[in-house]
Amino acid sequence: MVLEQEIPRFAAWIGPALLTFLLTVGLVSLFVGLAAWLVQAARSGPLDAGDRVYRGILTGLRDLAGTSPGRVWALARLAIQEAVRRNVLVVLAVFALVILFAGWFLDPASVNPGRLYLGFILGASTFLVCTVNLVLAVFSLPADIKSKAIQTVTTKPVRTGEIVLGRFLGFAIVGTVLLTLMGLAGWAFVVRSVQHEHELTAGGLQEIRDDEGTLLGYEGRTGSGRGHRHFVRLDAEGNGIAENTQGHRHRITSRPDGGEMVSTVGPAEGLLEARRPLRGTLRFLDREGKPASKGISVGAEWAYRQFIEGGTAAAAIWTFDGITEEAFPEGLPLEMTIRVFRTYKGTITEGIHGTVQLQNPSNKLRSEAIPIVAREFTIEELRIPRRLNTVLADGRVQEADLFRDFVSDGRVEVWLQCLEPAQYYGVAQADFYLRLGNGSFAWNYAKGCLGAWFAMLIVTALGVMFSTFLSAPVALVAAVAVLLVGQFREFISRLFQSQLTGDATIAPGGGPIESLYRIVSQTSITLELDPTPAVQAMKLADMVLLAPMRVAAGVFPSLSALGTGDFVAGGFDIPGDLLAADAAETLAYVAAFCIAGAFCLRAREVAS
């Protein structure tokens, strides 16, 4: 799993976030108020318009304050009844079909089937529930206005805010029920799909004996289960593990049975996990061993994963903070995901060799190198023991204690180096971590579903807001447009920055017109265009087009940023801070959309 940025503490995040929210809401309201005044002024003169807008805002706010839970609930019930009688539950049948077919398409022999299945299930349920809710939300109010049923509602003591909130609440409840059912079904599907057994027969094992012929243990392979087999290492009694394949292990126990040894392979371990990592900060040394701001970019990977060259002094160094004997009484459980970039093929089934060392950040005392083998796509586990050797300046080897000698002020450095010349290791900051412990996977899955729930809430509120002043199909398109801009908000802001600074490396290819030109003329996006007047004009037009998109990108919600499915699928516990921040963000969007919807509906003549 790739973390693009650090997850801030919620307590530190919420303050500035709230400020940004209020500022944005203030600016948007000011802008909208001004626009409303201009429209009114065109009709009835500036003074009268000002009076109307002022009174509209005032009574609108008073109406919001008069919101009654009873009426909101009545309208929410109506929305639920509407949804149920429109047969939304059909979507559950669709989901069931998706699950059935998924069994055919998802490859159980893939590198990490747990991740594949989880990612698929969470993705499918999020998509389905968001689609259903968006359609429900977008079609409901316009249908009411069209059928004029709204007239019998607004002539009751109902505030427009209650209509909007009731709609939102009703559909949110429908979505919650759908998501819960899908979540449970998906859970059953994933757990059942990844469960498997292996057989281990005496024929599959080889005895290992030392020179005197005493039995040291056994080695061999398990039988095939769900398309894979494990290497097995057992001790003399026949106990041991089936080694990590497809992201999991099995424990093996044996008992003698009439001279024969009967081995049992336990259930898969490590497939559905919720690891709690302690992450460090990463810096690099270049091939001469001098500090480098970046490693070597091999071009093929994303910028955030940097590469270090094998057989040189290049190193990736993580500094971990908060290391105490109490937290890690049995040494440091280091887990590593290392990308391998080969400049020659070598033995492809073998990993690339490297070392890991500890260094005291204060006195630079360094431990002996611990050999590792990096294989693609798997998380390597390495427990750094309490007692380590260190090589002194005069070449003597001395035993040292992990916490006494290598940790200073709770900090320790972990050095990664690649041993094989002309091969490269690629790492990002999130790739090395110390495992603090395990959360419950079931709870983590539930938290993952909560991410989908947040997305569903935002989509519903967005749909309801647009449906207050647009006809259903237009509202649908508008909502989808907002979600799309939100989805690509990072890219849009990078593109805009790139246009503004003229630095094409931030986002190559230019804005909409320039990229269209590049497509038509088949010009590579990395090629600078000659600054002819035509090109200048094109870039200027792009700026004009991009500016409003950049503003929108700063305001619109990104559903993928709320999605925490990657954590669940990748086997990481979703941090509470992230969840809290996501919840706050969702609440902010929902509140803003509902209030905006209430004002729009209020300003509208629902009966004409």
Partner: protein, 313 residues
Amino acid sequence: MPSAASTSSNRPSDADVVVETRNLSKIYRDFWGRDKKAALKPLDLEIRRGEIFGLLGPNGSGKTTTMKLLLGLIFPTSGEAFVFGKPATDVSKNERIGYLPEESYLYKFLDAEETLDFYGRLFGMPPEERARRSAALIEMVGLTRDRKRQLREYSKGMTRRIGVAQALINDPELVLLDEPTSGLDPIGTREMKDLIIDLKARGKTVILCSHLLADVEDVCDRIAVLHQGELKELGRVDELLRVTGITQIRAGGLPPAAYEEVRAVLARHGASDVEIGNPTTTLEDLFLEVVRDTEARPGRRARAAATTPADGK
């Protein structure tokens, strides 16, 4: 004048005015804000507590528009409308209002009980009261047998009946009925008239528009006749229908033998065209006269301008 009102306040006229409009007008605009249709020309009205007020006029004359303006469903182009002394766009006034739209715009996927329960909830009525009132109203409009059927299966008249029940769920003080008898069978029409008269007896104010002039004549205290959005007639029904210059004599139990004697007395006083029988001047005649008159000579009729709201009975 109802006695309760006269004792309640020093300024009975203010407390008594349920609906008031000042220069209320409406021009429908299209999406671009261009004028499309002047549906209502500046209108001044005052409707008092306990009155049954009828809005008459040909199709498209602005009756529904007036009602919607009073309800705050649409916003006036100019002028103001007040209901219970509050601006028409104030939602809190709706606590005391019942509205039956032109067609019963209800939720087709609900059944009769659910419909009334839903609207009852909007008034924050407690569950027992909701159940009691909706049962009573369903009984009253004669839908007891069909109360569990979804409205999509209802006939036009049945939909109308549930619409009436919906309008009365909160026991409103002011009831606006837009063509209450449309789609009703003769018995339903009769019951509707009885209902309106019963509402009046209970001190409620009713504003209704209808094309069934005989019914309007039977129940309304005052009427306004609109034509092309303009007020053409306004006044008490009995006054408007009084044909000045002709005296009508009605008597019970007069034997035909006495007719000649009466004729002789009238002739002695110089009366001409003496006719004895049932009265024939009706609202229908008045209505046709107003419409024909306006088509022939556009402009405001002198009589409407002169008429001021009557003081009740």
